[in-house]
Symmetry: C2
Subunit: 216 residues, 2 copies
Amino acid sequence: MRIGELSRRSGIPLPTLKFYLREGLLPPGTLSARNQADYDDGHLRRLRLIRSLTEIGRLSLRSVKEVLDALDDPARSVHDLLGVAHHALGPPPLEKDDVVARARTEVDRYLRRRRGRVAAEAPARDVLAGALATLRRMGRPADVRVFDPYADAAERIARMEVSTIGGTTDRAWAVEQAVVGTVVFEAALVALRRLAQEHESAARFGRRRGPSRSLR
Amino acid sequence: MRIGELSRRSGIPLPTLKFYLREGLLPPGTLSARNQADYDDGHLRRLRLIRSLTEIGRLSLRSVKEVLDALDDPARSVHDLLGVAHHALGPPPLEKDDVVARARTEVDRYLRRRRGRVAAEAPARDVLAGALATLRRMGRPADVRVFDPYADAAERIARMEVSTIGGTTDRAWAVEQAVVGTVVFEAALVALRRLAQEHESAARFGRRRGPSRSLR
């Protein structure tokens, strides 16, 4: 298809497509007889992935480029790829004062104890360290094991999630699933926790309404 | 103590304190003999709560005022209070196109089925509807029950969490714990899930290194 149709079918404006081509995010089309570039379904899939990464993952174009470069490098395993995508989603490294630096050391030790193989530079390590430091600043007696019930829940969920990506050979699909899955279900998990808290709080502290009181 | 000492001990600049007094976020001090306002530990605690709400909860000052007004209203139960704080943390209501509106109806029905008492206006409902709508836009065959494992995990966690607030009579403390707990452990839960995903992905897709291969 010509670039106009690519724009129409992908819903991405022509100037944006040209920008993606110039930046190497989108591979060039094949030149047809009339010296016009011709695009195919591979280009559509690539655009869909870019869209997932930018709109759902909120990745910068620079991070998108990193993910796509990893995707196009056949030497990278699916695990490598997921790692690149994952880390691109993460917040930038934390500014580390003393409290945070100490918390980070404890988090690293904690993660080594709980499970083995997590990249040393995973941004989620900093997030945990920041959370621990905040608890301490707020005067909570926070040992790193305060994370235990959350880690248990997270491990159960991750086992289920990664098993659904299992066995794929379509690397682009795996990356898209990982990014969408991470971001969307993260939002859902957080929302469901708040709803469950509200329910529990109603059960404990709420005023009982007529019938339910008489039932107890 | 005088306002200068209040500023020093709370770490909050004098102009900010004066602003809080003007806006009614901080109750006025008692006038002492020399016609100077005198502040006490109650003011310090209130400032600490304001700080939690703005810095950790990232609440706007308008939302902070709502939470504090609820706190100062003795007719409000602890559950009411937690609800006000919780909803203040939530994202603003979603713009609802057709896909989102349909998703929201399904989410409401889903929540009724799973548990009873969640406020109809809880912002987390919109977050769930948005997540479901995104999955569908990305071409995933998403039934609302896709949330089941996350809801199971969320309910287990919330039961544990709310039980730790249980039985308190210090309303300000309860609100602070709820806000800090919600925001900080939300970040931790999300980070732990990403770390667990990375671990699972390494176990499934990663290249095995020397020794671990021979162990299998």
